[in-house]
Amino acid sequence: MTTTQAPAATREALGPTLIKLAREGLDIVCIDADLGVSTTAAQFGKEYPERFITLGPAEANMIGIAAGLAAAGKVAWCSTFTVFMPGRCFDQIRVSVAQPNLSVKLFASHGGITVGEDGISAQGIEDLALMCSLLNFTVLVPADVVETASAIEAAAKSPGPFYIRAGRPKIPVIYGADHKFTPGMSDLLRRGSDVTVIASGVMVKAALDAAEVLASRGIDTRVINVSTWRPLDTYAIEEAARQTGAIVTAEEHLIHVGLGAMVAQHLAGVHPVPMGFVGMTRYAESGKWDELLEKYDLTPAAIVREVEKVVARKR
């Protein structure tokens, strides 16, 4: 699990992975809404110009074209920022992709507040609620660049629609190059018996750091990386609730419609335990991404605080 790789942005996985998959023979077509340099999709366009369809910033059109390509047998990849997809084209995703269950793959980069300086219009903290509301979609939030590459490969080789959320900044790499991600499966990163932190995306590393601090305070913390938001790995979540008796979720997304809400809903029906939630509750602002995580409480310290509260409620 440990790695010495330098920090990398999860979005950096897109271009190289699509090129690799196309070389393997997958019939990939990439549709671009004027952000291909940022999402790294343009790297694919350089290698396969005829399979790189430029549209300019016209996200609704992009989704419709992808649906048509998928209906004609192509593996259609759309990429832009989370605030524009699903933000700008939710209806098109719902009617043209989710309902007919077409093999359209959406790669939404620059998710969450770690977009940073661009400010709240660019900070997607609602996208996963929208995407998890759609049936047929598999919704993925990989924790680092290695897992993102693996998620892209899994999405490209699986039938049906996928949504992959990636981020802008270079974040620590937690997985070794041999990590293979399976959609629908969570990953147990640290064993523990007192409490479980269910984390996703950029919060996975924060959860691991929090677990170290908690260990020094005598709290044995289990850490699970839930990178598939839909379908949720309910088996692992229920097992964690039964075995550790308390859960804290950590996500770079609005709490009331996010991972915490989905985990709570599931546990309420099978095995309710004290729960705590780390995530967004308000719009943020411009600033450096790491300063924003600090100010808006998406930190190891916030996780430690929530864990101590739920552990106290157990007793």
């Binding site: 649906a67 048509g68 390509l69 192509k74 043209s96």
Partner: protein, 314 residues
């Protein structure tokens, strides 16, 4: 060929597995389609007869003369595609599909009913022959572009025909798609606009509104009937498409032979997509539905239904 009228440029692909209709058969088929539409909407006691009736000649021309398709093999990769972007007019699509033999005609009476394959708006994976799931306006032209690009990448020569409502042209996505289709030089794409001047809330412009009811005020105006006039003006429509890089043709949308000839002419246009603006009458063929906004989305009564059958003559 027997069905070709003198002087027409109509050609049917040698590869077509569907035997095109003769002139007489084509006319008879348009009447059957109109009757089927009324029967479907009456049986369901809901649905959209107006915009279905205005498109009858367009779909008859496509399915019975122009398109290369095979009802025995609906997923044939080389088939021409028909994309119903104005998916509320799905009765006219079901009428065309059952005419061709994609599904048994008796099934039209299940339209919009529970457990039916004939959904209220077109949906793929239900009845064979439906190419797109629709129901939210403005999405079909983009979807058609995807199919056209796939044809180009795969080296296939199929053509894609996309039917748009004129009210649907109020949707911005249509113009995103229009820009992209000419930019990517999709000569295998033909859009057809059902230009009937009426949409859900009333009249798109003042074209079909009596002079005395027109308002000097700019913008839309609610009439005494409760319907709105001048909702969103589209003119000059042909110039708009031209400005977006399209080849523009216009035709009387109720002269089925002229529709065949006009749509066929698009096959000779290279390097850019073609739009056929089909001038039509909403509710065409049923007098009390013609130019009547209330039959955009309403079923006829039993008496109205019988009168419709008499007028249609089928």
């Amino acid at each position: 060929l027997a069905y070709e009228r003198p002087g027409t440029r109509a050609k049917v692909s040698q590869l077509s597995l569907f035997q095109p209709y003769s002139d007489e058969e084509l006319i008879a088929a348009t009447k059957r389609a109109r009757r089927s539409i009324i029967e479907m909407v009456f049986a369901a006691n809901s649905g959209h007869p107006g915009g279905s009736l205005s498109s009858v000649e367009i779909l008859s021309a496509l399915y019975l003369r122009i398109m290369r398709h095979d009802p025995e093999n609906p997923s044939w990769p080389d088939r021409d595609r028909f994309i119903l972007s104005k998916a509320h007019a799905v009765p006219v699509l079901y009428a065309a599909l059952t005419e061709c033999g994609y599904f048994p005609r008796e099934e039209i009476y299940t339209f919009r009913k529970i457990d039916s394959r004939l959904q209220g708006h077109s949906k793929i994976g239900t009845v064979p022959g439906v190419e797109m799931s629709g129901g939210s306006l403005g999405q079909g032209l983009s979807y058609s572009i995807g199919q056209c690009i796939a044809a180009r990448l795969d080296g296939r020569d199929y053509r894609v025909y996309c039917l748009l409502g004129d009210g649907e042209l109020n949707e911005g996505q249509v113009w995103e798609a229009a820009m992209a289709a000419s930019h990517h030089r999709l000569a295998n794409l033909t859009a057809i606009v059902d230009r009937n001047h009426i949409q859900n809330d009333g009249f798109g412009d003042y074209e079909r509104v009596p002079e005395e009811k027109r308002s000097p005020m700019p913008g839309g105006r609610v009439l005494e009937s409760g319907y709105t006039a001048n909702i969103m003006n589209l003119e000059p429509l042909a110039d708009k498409w031209r400005a977006f890089g399209w080849h523009v043709l216009e035709v009387d949308g109720h002269d089925v032979f002229a529709v065949v000839d006009t749509i066929e002419r698009a096959k000779g246009i290279l390097e850019r997509p073609t739009v056929v603006i089909a001038h039509t009458v909403k509710g065409k063929g049923v007098s009390y539905m013609e130019n009547n906004p209330s039959f955009h989305g309403k079923a006829p009564t039993p008496e109205e239904k019988e009168r419709a059958f008499e007028e249609i003559g089928a």
